[in-house]
């Protein structure tokens, strides 16, 4: 046991551990400054890192603006960001850390619904409000009354496109081609069907395909035979690109309509020429001429040297909805505000009551002027807000109009 190699190894190990200790040391110091702690969990590394980084940028920008303007009642807001590597179980661990170790008063995140679904129950259990910027799956906010979102839910886009088809394009007969294997597609197709019928339109036919199919001529021929003016295809870009090619080959000249599942540079790559003249709904577009959006884009570009995508805009809104609610708590009730400032195990009841008050303030959010439209939270804690409709021209997206709920 006293051999030389062992000693050398032990020394190597000690050096390595000491190195880590030195790295960690400065971060361990506790600050005594009064501050409000807000948590964020995002996929800053891993295969969904582009989403996570955009989200973080949006939140950071909202935070810097707030703190530069003096914070909330003179108190600075501190953001604690945890990486979840885009993994569901890591998301749960990250949220657990934010909630019980850092004792944040609210949590922002995640983009992917599957990760939000893992973090939400922990926030709910501990009475910490959570706002997800971009998780559109209905089940996320059904996890409990502390879970909110600032984006619309999947079926809403079906409603939007039905309104667009009936009122803006003046269509009377539309066929539906849905992806039978995707919750998302089924949700959009059903709400489209309902709204379009209520607006006096007629669904000429309703056919289905399965994710991964490459030949759609069967269902397309059946649909075209019913004489539709347009087709609603709420699928993902991979299949939609192929569908667009094949529908033109079959001689159909009307437009295709779809949802945010279309939003990918790959769409035009796959569909090519055949993609021109179609419409789809999305959360936001940088081409929207409204001054709010253009102002945001300029600020974002100045800070990060890139055009913000939908995630950056949605997370900016999520953070600002939270900050507005915090400001209201501070203005309305000094006692609850003190509860939010208190950290440590000093007054857990006061803290919990204060977070419940914060929850109520978030729930009351109404007509909040967000970059992605006016945000109103409904009883299901989902955002009621406008969607934008884009058209595809010469392989590029063009803003058509904004449609309110």
């Amino acid at each position: 046991m006293q051999g030389k190699p062992d000693q050398r190894n032990a020394r190597g190990l000690t050096t390595a551990l000491a190195g880590v200790a030195v790295l960690l040391a400065p971060l361990g110091c506790a600050k005594q400054v009064q501050e409000i702690k807000v948590g964020e969990y995002s996929s800053l590394t891993g295969d969904k890192a582009t989403f996570g980084i955009s989200t973080h940028n949006g939140i950071q920008m909202a935070l810097d603006e707030l703190n530069a303007a003096g914070g909330i009642g003179g108190v600075q807001v501190r953001l604690i960001t945890e990486d979840d590597q885009g993994k569901p179980e890591e998301a749960a661990t990250a949220v657990q850390k934010l909630v019980s170790q850092d004792q944040v008063v609210a949590v922002l995140g995640e983009v992917a619904s599957s990760n939000s679904l893992q973090g939400a129950p922990i926030c709910q259990k501990n009475g910490v409000p959570m706002i997800t910027p971009a998780s559109t799956n209905e089940k996320v906010t059904q996890q409990g009354d502390y879970i909110f979102r600032v984006c619309f839910i999947d079926p809403f886009q079906g409603t939007v496109m039905a309104k667009f088809a009936a009122q803006s394009l003046n269509l009377k007969r539309v066929g539906i081609l849905r992806d039978a294997r995707s919750d998302y597609s089924i949700g959009l197709a059903n709400s489209f069907k309902e709204t379009f019928a209520s607006l006096g339109g007629e669904i000429s036919g309703d056919e289905a395909y399965q994710q991964g199919d490459v030949d759609f001529k069967g269902p397309l021929t059946a649909l075209i035979a019913t004489g539709p003016e347009a087709l609603f295809v709420p699928g993902y870009y991979t299949e939609v690109g192929l569908i667009a090619r094949q529908v033109r080959e079959l001689g159909f000249t009307g437009p295709l309509l779809g949802g945010d599942g279309w939003d990918s540079p790959k769409l035009v790559e796959i569909g090519g020429e055949a993609m021109n003249g179609h419409y789809f709904s999305n959360h936001y577009t940088e081409q929207d001429p409204s001054p709010v959006i253009q102002g945001f884009i300029q600020k974002y570009k100045a800070k990060y040297n890139q055009v913000p995508d939908a995630m950056g805009a949605l997370s900016y809104d999520a953070a600002r909805v939270l900050f507005a609610a915090l400001q209201q708590v501070q203005a309305a009730s000094p006692e609850e505000w003190k509860g939010l400032l208190a950290t440590g195990a000093a007054k857990p009841e006061a803290r919990r009551a204060a977070m419940a008050a914060l929850r109520d303030r978030i729930a009351a959010t109404s007509s909040f002027p967000g970059v992605t439209g006016a945000i109103t939270l409904d009883e299901q804690r989902n955002a009621r807000k406008p969607a934008v409709v884009l058209s595809i021209k010469e392989g590029k997206y063009a803003f058509v109009e904004q449609i309110a709920p």
């Binding site: 960690l24 179980e89 661990t93 657990q96 019980s100 619904s113």
Partner: protein, 341 residues
């Protein structure tokens, strides 16, 4: 290995006493220590315990039997999804028979449901291990690794496309029946089974297969049977780990069980020492805690984490404990002195 002779033929009362004492310690920890611990640390501790189960069971396949498997995440997923599906579909009926309400079952009824689901999950995982093992264990080295890797991916894709267990969206709202008590109890059971197995006649046979298959065959060891045995037992305990994870985490997602999860467990086994149970325990604890300890350095934590792995592997290529086991008593001066005498 040889210095640690298994303590055999202990009288039954002594064994029961030890078991009871161990159980009492876990209950006391659960009742009095755990409520005082930050839930975040408790979560890391419980996840580390689950990783111990996974690492030790993979060590049986990779370390003791010498068969390089990369499919552990697949078996874990089977155990997790089967027992979660059981708790969600049959759980309320079982609770009704036990006279407990499905909304708020007491600790005992929920523990019974957990055990039933866990046994079922482990069984299904073991049977799958058997079915996979019989054809693939004819392969050696790299070929076996690739075959098991493929198997793990198949499991994940099948789950992803099974709507009944949530499909690609993930299985959510699984009742959280497994806490510190259940996870610790099953970890100790796993360790006991593996420790006794590798120190038994069958364990020696496994070592013989690992060291030299032809020689073992010549000595009359049925090598295929032992390889399949180790593979199935390892798979069963991966299933145990998976079902504890499902019932602790409260949700499952197919993306948790990619081949990266298998690699993670392989790293624990290799780092701890192939063929060292105590090594696997230490490595599992270390590798679960390390990414959390490194959180303050943000995006660079995975870089540092990987760097530490490289440093460890360069300084100790045979793993922390190599082939041997760590005996805490050896740290004590008197024991060392006595050993030297």
């Amino acid at each position: 290995m040889s210095e640690l002779a298994p303590e055999r033929f202990l009288p039954l009362p002594t064994r029961l006493l030890r078991f009871g004492l161990g159980l009492a310690v876990i209950v006391l920890l659960q009742q009095f220590v755990l409520p005082g611990i930050n839930p975040y640390f408790a979560r890391i501790l419980i996840l580390a315990e689950i990783n111990v189960i996974l690492a030790v069971s993979l060590n049986l396949i990779n370390g003791f039997a010498g068969q390089f498997s990369l499919g552990h995440a697949g078996f874990m997923a089977i155990g997790g999804y089967v027992s979660a599906a059981f708790a969600v579909s049959a759980g309320p009926a079982v609770l009704a028979v036990l006279g407990a309400s499905p909304e708020a079952p007491g600790p005992a009824p929920s523990f019974i449901v957990l055990c039933l689901g866990l046994i079922l999950g482990a069984l299904v995982a073991a049977i799958t291990g058997l079915l996979i093992g019989i054809p693939t264990l004819r392969l050696k080295g790299d070929y076996l690794a690739i075959a098991t890797l493929g198997f793990g991916e198949i499991i994940r894709v099948v789950i992803q496309n099974t709507e009944a267990v949530g499909g690609a969206r993930g299985f959510i709202n699984i009742p959280t029946y497994a806490g510190f008590f259940a996870v610790t109890l099953f970890m100790v059971l796993t360790l006991a089974v593996h420790w006794n197995l590798v120190h038994s006649r069958h364990g020696r046979a496994l070592l013989a297969v690992r060291e030299d298959e032809i020689a073992a065959e010549a000595m009359g060891v049925p090598t295929t049977r032992y390889k399949v045995l180790a593979f199935s037992i390892g798979a069963a305990f991966a299933g145990v780990g998976g079902s504890l994870f499902a019932h602790y985490n409260g949700g499952l997602h197919p993306n948790t069980f990619t081949f990266l999860k298998s690699i993670e467990v392989v790293i624990m086994v290799v780092l701890g020492g192939m063929g060292s149970i105590t090594g696997s325990i230490l490595a599992a604890l270390l590798l679960t805690a390390m990414p959390e300890l490194l959180r303050p350095i943000k995006e660079y934590r995975m870089v540092i984490y990987s760097l530490l792995l490289i440093v460890l592997m360069i300084t100790r290529p045979q793993g922390i404990f190599g082939l041997g086991e760590f005996d805490p008593a050896r740290l004590l001066w008197w024991r060392r002195a006595r050993g030297a005498r």
